[in-house]
Amino acid sequence: MTRHEKLSMAQALNRALRDAMTDDPSVVVFGEDVGPLGGVFRVTDGLTAEFGEDRCFDTPLAESGIVGVAVGMAMNGMRPVVEMQFDAFAYPAFEQIVSHVAKMRNRTRGQVALPMVIRIPYAGGIGGVEHHCDSSEAYYAHTPGLHVVTPSTATDAYGLLREAIASPDPVVFLEPKKLYWSKEEVELGPQPPAIGRAVVRREGTDATLIAYGPSVPVALEAAEVADREGRSLQVVDLRSIVPFDDETVCAAVRSTGRAVVVAEAAGFASVSSEIVARVTERCFHSLAAPIRRVTGFDIPYPPPKYEHLHLPGVDRVLDAVDDLQWEDS
């Protein structure tokens, strides 16, 4: 049964974990500070109290160990959901993720599946100091065997996390930190599948903005401003980077003939490059202009007092839209 409640994204994720743990005793949650503290972003708030220390527990401070132990637990009948405290703190686990999480099913010809979720708060916009604001999606998206998803709404956060936990494949679940506290009316309960399915967030006829995670609200705001200026922008929210929904994205771009990709990560060799390449390969004859990208610069994530210069903002998105070779300009 679907219930509605006004929740922040962090609360929606918490509800997803609680509901999954209630429904399935094999779901276990662990990581750094996820126990009595409830996680530094409170996503695991109350889980240890409700389900006990066997179901939600603090571990030693070692990310490779956390993911490696999750691999073993997933091999042996559990559905672990582990938290990497921040994007850049997940890097010690990179070898486990790339060499084992992503490959176990393939190595064993499908005999060993790893139903596990690696939750990673990611991206910037919260004034975080260095090592707390990386957009690390390309590393995971480049690795065959992983699903990589990122919600932009609290409702999707709930639905995607439930789906990720139920998935027979490992999922890297990227949570945009700056959206943790945005509240909205959330549908709790069964939702249509979202992994592998992009969604059109706003209809429009002149150009398509393609975004994911933290960049979706930026794209929506840009579309709002453009609308006041007489230009109708469509907004596509990927939700799922892997699997990538070519069908929805290409149908959207064909309908407008122009596109801008918006993403926080550095643009070079990125998910945004992949989107441009894929759409160009498939929609070349529908395009009235080359696809533009508005991304972070190719620099290490800057200090808090510089991040406004680095992050794709509404003005930069609208400038890119203006550059799409309009016939009247």
Binding site: T59, G65, G68, G72, M73, R105, T108, V112, D246
Partner: protein, 357 residues
């Protein structure tokens, strides 16, 4: 925190029950395993040696890409498998093919990786043997996870996690031992210290008094054992497994042994160690000393070893035609649209190649 760590420290010298000459050690402080257990061990040691040497020969014949032999380390391989119950798990490294076979894995399937037919040739659930781990020590946290999951469900599973001396320098070795200790996971970590990590000797790997001493830093009891004495290995590992099964938590065991051959056939050991050093270990061979001790007719054991070697030769001499569809079949539970497209493109490419021949 306790100030008294003495109970975590290993013996001053490795536990030995049957010495290099085949004589039982007086005042060893432990009982010898019974004769039936030792006969069973000898039979397996003889098969294990035969498999090592057969696999080595199959590389020269071009049937295997490469083989990291455990020649000389067979006592560790056999004991690690024999102390386990059916419901237990074994986590082998790439040098532990023989241990996997002793646990029931078909030798042909155990060598699928090195034959090149696929990465893991066996079903890990069939005999509860994890796939060979190649990236060093990365399998150790998995072993802890398997053990912890079993403990949460109240199952009596114990996990035997293998690694080498080089692997103890990896971060995952540290993380796995620390997690196991904190979670009180039923894992026995067995380090086969064969003195070399490819070309690098132990002295360049660690400054610790012994590798077993590393346990004290995690609150895990460490023990040292003569890695060429299968009787001592069965006793020490058997005790560690029983302790873990009874809820006593993890244990670290260092077996002192020696890699008698090069790292793999592709390696040239003469570049970094003297043949005299290798010769010194010939006299400590694990099979010779048990044979001398038991003084029994081994002809049945040798006949069985020959049958297993023949099975291996037959299996590896059989060419398996690669199935292109397999490339895409198990990346995900169900292939993504993109993988379906790529599989179709490859199939089309191959059909056109056939047509143009």
């Amino acid at each position: 925190m306790t100030g008294d760590a003495d109970h975590l420290l290993p013996s001053d010298t490795p536990v030995t029950l049957i010495d290099a000459h085949g004589h039982p050690v007086a005042d060893a402080g432990r009982a010898l395993p019974d004769d039936a257990a030792l006969r069973r061990a000898l039979a397996s040691l003889i098969t294990a040696r035969r498999l090592n040497d057969q696999a080595y020969a199959l590389v020269r014949q071009g049937r295997l890409a490469v083989y990291p032999s455990s020649h000389g380390q067979e006592a560790c391989q056999i004991a690690a498998a024999q102390v386990l119950d059916e419901g237990d798990w074994l986590f082998p490294t790439y040098r532990d093919t023989v241990a996997a076979v002793e646990r029931g894995v078909d030798p042909v399937e155990a060598l699928t990786l090195l034959k090149g037919d696929w990465h893991c040739g066996w079903d890990p659930y069939e005999h509860r043997v994890a796939p060979h781990a190649t990236p060093l020590a990365t399998q150790l946290p998995h072993a802890v996870g398997v053990a912890h999951a079993a403990r949460l469900r109240g199952e009596p599973t114990v996990v035997m996690a293998l690694c080498g001396d080089g692997g103890t320098s990896e971060g995952d070795f540290h993380e796995a031992l620390n997690f196991a200790a904190v979670l009180r996971a039923p894992v026995v970590f067995l380090i086969q210290n064969n003195e070399y990590a490819i070309s690098v000797p132990l002295a360049r790997q660690t400054a610790a008094p012994s590798l077993a001493h590393k346990g004290v830093g995690y609150g895990i009891p460490g023990e040292r054992v003569d890695g060429n004495d299968v009787a001592a290995l069965l006793s020490v590992l058997g005790e560690a497994v029983a302790r873990a099964r009874a809820g006593g938590g993890p244990q670290l065991v260092e077996a002192h042994t020696y890699r008698m051959q090069a790292h793999t056939n592709a390696d040239d050991a003469t570049r970094y160690r003297a043949s005299a050093d290798v010769e010194a270990w010939v006299g400590r061979d694990p099979i010779t000393r048990l044979s001398v001790y038991l003084q029994i007719d081994e002809s049945d054991f040798r006949a069985r070893a020959e049958r297993v070697a023949e099975h291996l030769r037959d299996g590896l001499n059989r060419d398996v035609e690669p199935d292109p569809a397999r490339l895409f079949a198990h990346v995900y539970d169900r292939p993504t649209t993109q993988l379906q497209e790529q599989a179709a493109r490859l199939a089309d490419e191959l059909s056109r190649e056939v047509a143009s021949r």
